[in-house]
Subunit: 517 residues, 2 copies
C-alpha cells in the first residue's frame, strides 16, 4: 500500500453519534455567526422565502480537514508565481494565443464572442496597458498504483472569477477552532495521529486577493476625468448570486482595510449605470450609483465575478456591456485575452507530450529548471486531430478508460469520463471534436473519506475526491513589466466520489481545509 493510501486508511476517525451531533450543531452555529454562508437555494426553502433576500445558510463544509502531503502543498505554492507570470506572458502574446484560439472560433460561439470583443477594442486601440490577474491553480494528488510517493497534478488553471477565497479562509478558521478547543486540551475530535496538535496552515486568500485588487487600484493613478472624480473598484456580479458572501469578504477588506470604495454592479446594469464620455480619449469608466445620482465615480479596476460563462450572455446587450468594460480605461481583472488564456486548449497545448515545446516560448532561454517545475505538474493532455495520439487514445475503449474528455470551459458536469468517451465522440460530428481536450485521469487517493454538512442540514459521509487550489495575483503591463506578483491563500474542495462511475460528481462539492502530513 502506498504512503498516501496508508494515511487515508484510518482517516477520518469514526465519530460517535454524540460527537457527530456536537460537530454538526457547532458548525451550523459557527457558519452563521462568521459569514461562512451562502444564500439558500429554493429547494428546502420556499421560493417565496428566498425572494425576501434575508436568509443565509451554511456553505457546504466538511466536518474534518482533509490530509494532504506537505511536500505537494509546498510544491503547489512554490510554482504559483511562475504560473502567474506564465499566464500573464501568454496573455501578452496575442499572436500565439490568437493562433490557438482561431482553431476554436467556428466550433465555440462563446470563445468566438469573446474574441470579437478583443478584436473590436484592438481596432479602436486599447487605452489601458495594465492587466490584473486573480488566478487559482487547481491540483489533485496523483497516486497511481505502484507509485511510492504521491505527485501533484494540475487539474486546471483559472484566469477569471476564481472563487472561494473568501469562504475558504473561514473554513480554515473553523477547522482550526474546532481542532484547538478547548485551548490546550482539545476534545472535539476523536484522537487520531493526523489531528494530534495539528491545525490547517494559515489561509491568507482574502488578504492576498484584496491586495492584488488594491495594487491595481493604486497603479491606475489619478482620475482621468476633468474635473477629476473619486476613484473606486467595481465588482461585476451576477444577479441573484448565491455565493455573494465569498465576494463580500474581499470587498469588505478593500473598504475597511485598504479604504477603497467598492461597488457591486450586476452584469445587466452595466450599460445603465456606467458610461465612457465620448469626449475623453482616455475613456475613463464612469459609474453613477443609483442611490447617489449626484456623485459619480471613476472605476480604476473592474473585477469580474460574472461574465465568465456563456449563460452570462443572453443578448447582444450583454456583449455590448462586456465591450464597454473592455474598451474603458479601467484595469480589467481579467481582460478578454486573459480570460481566453484559461481555455482548456491552452493547457493542453502546453501539456501535450506529443507536440512541439510551447512552454519554453514563455520562459527565459535555458531555464530548464523552471520548465521542469511546471511540467512536473502537468497531466498528459491531447487534442483529437486526425491521426494524432489523442484521437487514438480516445477512440480505443481500453485506453479511453484512463482519460477524461473536457470541453473548453469549467469542468464538472460537462466532462465525459473513461469508457463513455468513444461512444460520446461517435455521437457528435467529427468537426466538433477539436473543441474537446483529452486528459489522462489524475488518480487521487482511492481511500480518501470525509463527512460533509450540506447547506440543507443533511450530513453525508463516504469516499471523496479533493482538489487543492492555490491563489495568486499578478499585475502586469503590456510591455512586460510586472508591477505585483504574489502567491497566497488556498482552497480545498472535496467532492463525493460516485462509486459506480468513478468520475467526480458535478452536483455536490464541499469547502474543506487541509492537514499537512
Amino acid at each position: 500500500m502506498a504512503a498516501a493510501e496508508a494515511v487515508h486508511a484510518t482517516y477520518p476517525p469514526r465519530l460517535t453519534a454524540e460527537q457527530e451531533q456536537f460537530l454538526v450543531s457547532t458548525i451550523k452555529d459557527w457558519t452563521i455567526q462568521n459569514g461562512l454562508t451562502v444564500r439558500p437555494p429554493a429547494t428546502f426553502v420556499s421560493q417565496d422565502a428566498v425572494s425576501k433576500g434575508v436568509l443565509g445558510t451554511n456553505a457546504p463544509v466538511t466536518l474534518f480537514p482533509s490530509p494532504f502531503p506537505r511536500s505537494s502543498f509546498e510544491e503547489a505554492r512554490a510554482v504559483q508565481k511562475i504560473y502567474n507570470k506564465l499566464y500573464a506572458d501568454i496573455t501578452r502574446d496575442e499572436k500565439w494565443l490568437g493562433e490557438i484560439i482561431q482553431e476554436l472560433l467556428d466550433v465555440d460561439d462563446f470563445v468566438s464572442g469573446l474574441w470579437k470583443v478583443h478584436d473590436a477594442v484592438k481596432k479602436e486601440g486599447y487605452v489601458q496597458d495594465l492587466s490584473l490577474g486573480l488566478f487559482r491553480s487547481d491540483y489533485m494528488e496523483h497516486t497511481p498504483a505502484g507509485s511510492e510517493n504521491p505527485s501533484l497534478k494540475q487539474v486546471e488553471f483559472n484566469t477569471i472569477s476564481s472563487s472561494f477565497g473568501g469562504l475558504s479562509s473561514r473554513v480554515a478558521a473553523l477547522h482550526s477552532e474546532l481542532l484547538s478547543f478547548p485551548p490546550g486540551q482539545p476534545i472535539n475530535y476523536p484522537s487520531h495521529p493526523l489531528l494530534d496538535g495539528r491545525v490547517p496552515p494559515k489561509n491568507t486568500a482574502v488578504e492576498t486577493l484584496s491586495a492584488g485588487l488594491a495594487a491595481a487600484h493604486s497603479a491606475y493613478g489619478p482620475s482621468k476625468s476633468s474635473p477629476s472624480l473619486p476613484l473606486c473598484i467595481i465588482f461585476v456580479v451576477q444577479e441573484g448570486e448565491r455565493n455573494i458572501f465569498d465576494q463580500l469578504a474581499l470587498s469588505s477588506r478593500l473598504s475597511n482595510f485598504h479604504k477603497i470604495p467598492v461597488f457591486r454592479l450586476n452584469t445587466t446594469d452595466i450599460l445603465d449605470l456606467t458610461s465612457i464620455p465620448g469626449s475623453n480619449s482616455s475613456r475613463p469608466l464612469i459609474y453613477t450609483p443609483p442611490h447617489a445620482p449626484s456623485t459619480s465615480f471613476e472605476a480604476t479596476t473592474v473585477y469580474l465575478r460574472g461574465f465568465y460563462a456563456p449563460t452570462d450572455y443572453t443578448s447582444e446587450r450583454d456583449w455590448a456591456a462586456r465591450l464597454q468594460l473592455e474598451r474603458s480605461a479601467a484595469i480589467k481583472c481579467p481582460t478578454v485575452l486573459n480570460q481566453l488564456s484559461g481555455c482548456k486548449k491552452i493547457q493542453q497545448v502546453l501539456a501535450d507530450p506529443n507536440r512541439e515545446d510551447h512552454l519554453s516560448r514563455f520562459l527565459s532561454p535555458g531555464d530548464s529548471d523552471t520548465a521542469d517545475k511546471l511540467r512536473r505538474t502537468f497531466a498528459p493532455q491531447y487534442d483529437l486531430h486526425e491521426n494524432g495520439r489523442g484521437r487514438e487514445l480516445a477512440l480505443n475503449v481500453e485506453t479511453a478508460a484512463s482519460h477524461v474528455l473536457k470541453p473548453q470551459r469549467e469542468g464538472g458536469g460537462n466532462n465525459i469520463y473513461k469508457t463513455a468517451i468513444p461512444g460520446f465522440l461517435r455521437s457528435i460530428p467529427e468537426k466538433d471534436w477539436k473543441s474537446w481536450v483529452l486528459m489522462e485521469l489524475i488518480q487521487p487517493p482511492s481511500e480518501a473519506k470525509n463527512v460533509a454538512l450540506r447547506s440543507d442540514g443533511a450530513v453525508i459521509s463516504g469516499n471523496v475526491v479533493s482538489e487543492l487550489g492555490i491563489f495568486g495575483t499578478i499585475l502586469w503591463s503590456s510591455d512586460g513589466r510586472i508591477l505585483h506578483n504574489e502567491e497566497g491563500g488556498w482552497l480545498m474542495r472535496t467532492k463525493a466520489k460516485e462509486s459506480d462511475e468513478g468520475g467526480v460528481a458535478a452536483g455536490f462539492s464541499s469547502l474543506d481545509s487541509v492537514i499537512l502530513y
Copy 2:
C-alpha cells in the same frame, strides 16, 4: 417646541426609493456576513426548514441610528458603576431584600419558587462567596410638555440574562460603516446635519461583558476537585434559542481572546450532564460533555441565559436543576438573590417618593451626591397598598392616564397602560394588587421616527419609542469586597409606537444605535 422635538422633527431624512433599496439590500447582506443574525421564526420559513437548524436571518434593525442627547448618554454611563454596586449591596442584604420579597410570596409562584431555592441553599450553607452580575440598566429620554431639556429616566434594571450586548455591538458597526462609506465621501444617507461626520460611539459591550465573566473565572481559583479538573464557564441556555448569535459573540470572545473553555448547556440537560460529588464538601460543579465523556470539566462560572422566566420552569425537575447550580461552588451570574433584586418591586421601593428613604441604606452615610444622581434617573413608582397614593392614582381614570401598571417581571406584553388601569384592577382580586407596581409614564420624544428592516424582509417606518440600555459588570464577595466593577457597552432598542394606544408595542422591536447630539 422643546429641543428634543426640534431634533426629531426633520429626522430621519426622507429616502428615495433607490436609497432605501440600497440601504435595505446592503443591510441584508451585511447582517448575514457579520453574524448580526437570529434563527428565523417558523412564520415566513416553514417549520420543516427551521428544524434543520441551518438558517439565519437578519436581526431586526433600524436603517438609521436614532438621535440621543449626549448629556443623557453620558449621565447613564456615569451612574452605571454606582448602580452595579447598589444592586450588589441589595443582593448582599438578605434581610432587607427578604422582607420585600416576603410580600410577594403568596401572590407570585415564580418569586416564591426562587426564594425556596435560596432558602434550601441557605440551610445547607453557601459554599461560594463570590457573585457575578452582568447588568443592563434601561432608560428612556423623558420630554414632558413644557420642559426645556430632556431628562434621563430609568425604565428597568436587569439583573439576569441581560441580552443584546453581542448583537448591539454589531449594529453600531453596521451603522458606522454605512455612515462612512465610501471613506472620506459618504453617500449612503441623504444629507442631514445630525449625520454629517457623525458615527455612533464605540460599543464595547462584548469586551465588557466577556471581561466580567473572565474576571469571575479567574477569581474562582484552582480546581476544587481531586484530582484537579480543567476549568470552564457554562452558558445555561434555553433549548431552541433564536437569539443564539447574541450569546455566541460572548462565548467566542471568551474562547478566542481569553482562552477560556465555554460550554453551552440547555436548562433541560443540567441534571444529566452536571453533578456535584457528594464526597466533596466544596461542591464543585462537574460538567461532562456528551461528545467527550472521558473528559470532565469543573465550572467556575455559570452564566444564565435561561431560567429567568416562569416559562423556563415546567416541572420540579427544572427547579431541582436550578438548585443544583445554586448550591454548587460555581460563581453564579446571577445568584437567585441577585435575580430577585431585579424585581420591579425593588425598583418601586427605591423610587417611591411617598415611602421612607431606602436608597440611603445602601449608600455611604452623607453621600447625598450619589443619592441625587440615582434619584434623578427614577420615575415615580408606587405600590397599591390600601389608602396609599399609588392606589389613589391608579383607580382614578384621570391620574391613571399618565401611568403604567407593571407586574414583577419583564415588561412589554404584560403591562397595563393608562386609562385601562382602573378597569383592569377591578377585574382581578384585590389581594393580587400587591404584585403590581404603578409607574408614572416616561414621555419619550413624540416626534421620533425611524425605518426598520424586520427579520422577514419587510421594511416599516413610522413613529417610534427608543430605550437606551447601559451594560455593567460587577464581581463581589458576600463580605462586601468588590473585585471588579466596570461599565461598558450599550444597547439602543427601538419599537414602533402604537398610535391608538400610546403604549409600546410588545411585538415589534428593532436593534438600533445612537447618534449623540
